[in-house]
Symmetry: D3
Subunit: 178 residues, 6 copies
């Protein structure tokens, strides 16, 4: 059995909302680790234009999406919300305290990446296809502008966003409500 | 299919550490809910006599214990750390934001129980057998005093406590180190 | 006696500073509620370009203005400062804990409005006359630029701003001091 | 007109709950000041044995009690909740920012008193009659133990405590519930 | 001996990083005070484009620079980090609690200056030569863009920035890494 | 030159107040390190029975004491206040960010000691002579009870405590004032 399969990895993001690019990263990560912790960052934020969804809502989106995906075994996944910390330089140390031990990082966030690199961690930054489209910024913008956005997310993410009134919420927070 | 099986429940505690009484509650809860969120309270605390373990360590203890138990299906469990909140009366509202939606509460904590009751929630307080022994307070006391403590916890909890130097840590924090 | 007169309402804003548009909203609100709580939001902020005045100063402006107005009975008014909360989605829950019970909301803030709507609250957003002029942003801009600003606020607000050196403060904070 | 009547005073306490001793202090204070700010300290606390009531509930108790008292003119009273501050030595400075300007302090709290004395403030500590009985500690203890407590508080305080289920709450928080 | 030499002064800045303009201010200040407290503001911030260095790193830069300068006697200098405070208007009061007593302020920050002026403090704002170049903003911009930056700082600051990988850090945080 | 002389050490305590035992530890530490950082812990606390003095006052006591001691060269000392951190397990990481790099720890605090030991740090716990007497707890108790306390502290500490009204403050906070 290859050593790499014994590792636990951490995929760190804000997932506002969880989209197909995130899903691809989960699958990519699961090829090299035994268990994957999905760290939901800025967990204390919600109801803002840049952070419309609560951590609980984001966990529901991710969990439902992964459970429905046949390529993914949900029992290899941990979903853990982590709030921002006032002392910025301690961000990755806070993650250490709130999640099980891990050996490798997956993230696109420059700040997080830099902090882990200074600690000597291995950080993987997956090159994503359709990068411009497949971003949470793009998903939120399309929702705000009333454009087609469901093709960028999983069916489960779309369902939860509608269930919780997420389209209306994003439009209201952007001052575009009726 | 009985309606009750569609519910999601939340089991709220500090799990300092996770012991056989907690395990019994998890099994009891899983008889009436489809999914169980285990809320690790006071998540920001560790390295204190009353709160020796980090949230990450507590998650490892619980996850390993449940994964090894044949009666429990780990994919029905979510493990979510929630820090204390400065405005005490908002504690259960903070839980709402950080975890998926839930309908029923399991807890022995009086403060948590009271807040949920005032909101009209259904709160179950399981009557545990061997209650005096099966408490985290008792486990910590026995570790501090060098008494036999492993019979009160799962094999997995005991293993992790030893792996992370937990016995030594508790003794040091209680000013009983060598 | 009409039922509506038994209600308590909450008028939520930052009041940086209190102006004639706010005064009109107070009068409008008092037509439909028995008591009105004026919630002074972002109470912890002051001495910033967007938030020049302390909560205490804002309370003085509002109280003096309302006491001097013959149409308003000051004993129907409560003035309560509420600081921002780190977990954004709990903002309206924090208001619940810090003020007496209320049944209806008056606010122009989109974030606050959205949170209350999701809770099923009745939210009134008064259409104000002279909306572009009658904004706190406009008042601060005119003070900073040395333009005529007193016509936008009550006599009492103007008096307190001058008493506390508010004109000088705003100019300094905007880097326009002598 | 005597100069003293021009002053604004601040009466600082926790009011857990508001009792007849507090009421006597309000009347005593109103003899020497024009307006009285009642500062509700530890405003962020509630649902604890020592701090059972929210700031909003405490404001209701005080406001209803004072409005019903013929000796007191409610329009001379401001009720302002102030949360504790992490940097303890800044407590009275926080009060300065959140309430209108004041010149004299009424308090029985040693910590608050000391901080104001070091700033050169005038602090009055009213000698209360029936001091042992007329304390919030005594009221809470009697409620917890099921003894007669209503004679220590105003009719309005008693009414609100019953309306919000305060007796039950205190008993539950003290682990004395049914 | 002139009275002014008995004073203690406070030089308040963020020092991101410490540059030749700051050094000139230290020398200028030491001409009028007996001891100088260098207050490192926003001490909790680091690893951000505008605040790349930790307080500890900034203290090292300043201390090494001053120790190497023959005109400066290091035993007249105190270096004290002070984090931002949530209640903005208490910023200078927080400084009061965390540093020894002082009588005069040196700062270019408008917010800090305004707060001290309102307290009646004497605030000196040194007119610096080469002001446009000699700013921390300029130093960070040059580092990010790969331009010559060492001429704007002391030899010691440059050495520490290189030792801790500061050039790489700034480039990464600005999304300009390799 | 022995290698040990190149090290920087950190002496971590609360110094409420600084006494002769602390002074002995400073001298002991300076025998093995080139520079010594004195970390003033719980920097945000003051005006409490257990923490009567502000960080600024404690810095004055220590600085004056060390400057007057012929065996100590003040330019080898850094005095840095560090507030407590909400996430307890990050306490030593917070120290890392706020002070220059260090290699060895001197402390009597069990919590701090345990956290550093888990990180693999070298921690020295000096065995003090007259340990029961030479404790800050003893100094505060003697001041509160009006007993002879000056023999336990330096002349400079005693002077500052008297200058700032510290005897009176401690007595008031312990409810023993006149």
């Amino acid at each position: 059995m290859p050593t790499s399969l014994l590792l636990r990895g951490a995929f760190i993001g804000r997932f506002q909302p969880f989209h197909l690019g995130h899903l691809a990263t989960v699958k990519y990560a699961l090829r090299s680790v035994r268990e994957l912790i999905i760290v939901i960052g800025s967990a204390q934020k919600s109801h803002e234009p840049r952070n419309p969804f609560t951590a609980g809502e984001r966990i529901e989106m991710i969990r439902d999406s992964l459970q429905a995906d046949k390529e993914i075994s949900i029992d290899k996944i941990l979903l853990i919300p982590v709030p921002d910390i006032e002392i910025h330089g301690l961000w990755t140390r806070e993650v250490d305290l709130l999640v099980p031990r891990y050996e490798i990082i997956f993230t696109n966030d420059r700040f997080t990446r830099q902090l882990y690199l200074e600690r000597g961690f291995k950080v993987k930054e997956p090159t994503m296809c359709r990068r411009e489209e497949l971003s949470a910024t793009e998903v939120r913008a399309r929702i705000a502008e009333g454009k087609e956005w469901k093709e960028l997310v999983t069916f489960q993410t779309a369902t939860i966003i509608e269930e919780i009134g997420g389209v209306e919420r994003i439009r209201q927070l952007n001052n575009l409500g009726p």
